[in-house]
Symmetry: C2
Subunit: 254 residues, 2 copies
DNA sequence: TAGTGGTCTAGACCACTGC
DNA sequence: CAGTGGTCTAGACCACTAA
């Protein structure tokens, strides 16, 4: 039944190296033998091993650094969920900080995040959703989230200046209950959330910040918060290395 | 502000070709000039152009066929949403057929789908979720969905034999209201749905069926339907080319 | 049979790391 | 300075398509 597809040599080599990693021969954090050594071991050329490494890099399994060598990545896959329960403690842009930390701690990882608040010209897609002119100023709350001190997510929350300017939302700390509580205090309680998910190559800037290979992919999640009157009060753009995360949604039937 | 990162030559060439596609010089469906011609045009070698093509192939922008040449892909990005309204016409595994067709028709694409029903040994992950032994038989409703006669999604719905065996769910047509209506008729109305989303390389089989390049990625969405008693009555595994889709979820606040 | 893309080789040069 | 990975070249062989 299984159709035989003879794989090209570089994919076979990639398979062998992948197997060695999964078998524990090259444990997480360890340095894989160099391309030259593997080339002689597998009776092939360095170019072929290099291409095999490229396959495994794109999968997020290994990381290569010029001069240093190639190491096996350590971080496990991080779950992220939207459930009724977790929705209750939505606090700040991105994930609820509480749920982000809880999930990382369950995996035995440390968590940390940093916020930078700024007035910036609205990116085109954000301006479109917020219903403002391209490039007009909006409030941006840019958050970086770390697992074991490795940056695993960028989340920037964009808010209209008319709503957020000069309020607690323009401070680093948004106070008890977080961003959505402050919006509610001001009469802009979100009534509906939408998240749009797409997969794309990282921008150069994202690749640098998240230490990603250009052949890897990011998950982009754009959350829109809308009031009962249909007013968009927040657009939150989240970017995560696609191989690093598993995201889930739960809802009641009917 | 923008940090200059000098790109390697093959990425620059990829950028030039991408620009030519987006400018309309190589319109959707047309054949891109051959690697040899582009190599001389850009004063480089065929290997470099080949690598540039690999970048664009991985993005889903072009498709190469040995002997035939390289063509610009035609299908636009397909949206897929879970909203309150659409949940009401959930019919069959995967998307509601109705909503799938409606979304494709909005884009001016034809839609079609085919189902094959079978008893199969449960895959490990499915067995785990259904709470049955690995490899024990379950009912599989495998659906293929086409846009403009191109396969764009595989969706296989797994149901416990004790529930679905010998019922209408083992027929190709599940009748009015579809799968979830039949489950409700039998006293197994789903009360809660969960979808788990991950991004991974396609298996060989998926790559063949979906005509994907091994360097492209699939979105895997595993939906679990649970009754009010906590019984899992359906596991639906959906696989879509990641570059081809944008999926969205909407929910009410609180 | 001519032309396409897929792969592999052998060798080279480079940027970078760590000693 | 030796060793690493990143890239590029020139050439070759192959599987496949279309005329």
């Amino acid at each position: 039944m299984a159709l035989e597809t003879p794989q090209p040599e570089f994919r076979q080599v990639a398979g062998l190296i992948r197997a060695s990693i999964q078998s524990g021969e090259y444990p997480p954090g360890s340095v894989v033998p160099g391309e030259h050594e593997l080339a002689t071991r597998y009776k092939t050329t360095r170019a072929t091993v290099n291409r095999a490494f490229a396959v495994l890099r794109a999968e997020g399994l290994i990381r290569s650094e010029r001069g240093r060598g190639t190491t096996v990545n350590e971080l496990p896959i991080i779950p992220s969920s939207r459930t009724k329960r977790q929705r209750r403690d939505f606090r700040e842009s991105g994930e609820s900080r509480g749920s982000f930390e809880a999930e990382l701690n369950l995996l035995g990882l440390s968590s940390r995040s940093e916020v930078v608040v700024n007035e910036v010209p609205a990116p085109d897609d954000v301006a479109q959703i917020l219903g403002v002119a391209d490039g007009s100023p909006v409030l941006a709350r840019a958050r970086e989230m770390f697992a074991n001190d490795i940056l695993v997510m960028l989340a920037t929350s964009y808010l209209p200046l008319e709503i957020a300017g000069g309020t607690e939302l323009a401070q680093t700390q948004t106070g008890p209950g977080g961003l959505y509580s402050r919006l509610a205090d001001m009469g802009y309680a979100p009534a509906e959330f939408t998240e749009e998910i797409s997969v794309r190559p990282p921008t150069d800037e994202e690749a640098r910040a998240l230490r990603m290979d250009p052949d890897q992919r990011v998950l982009q999640i754009v959350r829109t918060a809308t009031t009962g009157h249909g007013l968009v009060v927040e657009v939150n753009k989240m970017v995560k290395p696609a191989h690093q995360w598993k995201i889930s949604y739960t809802w009641a039937a009917e």
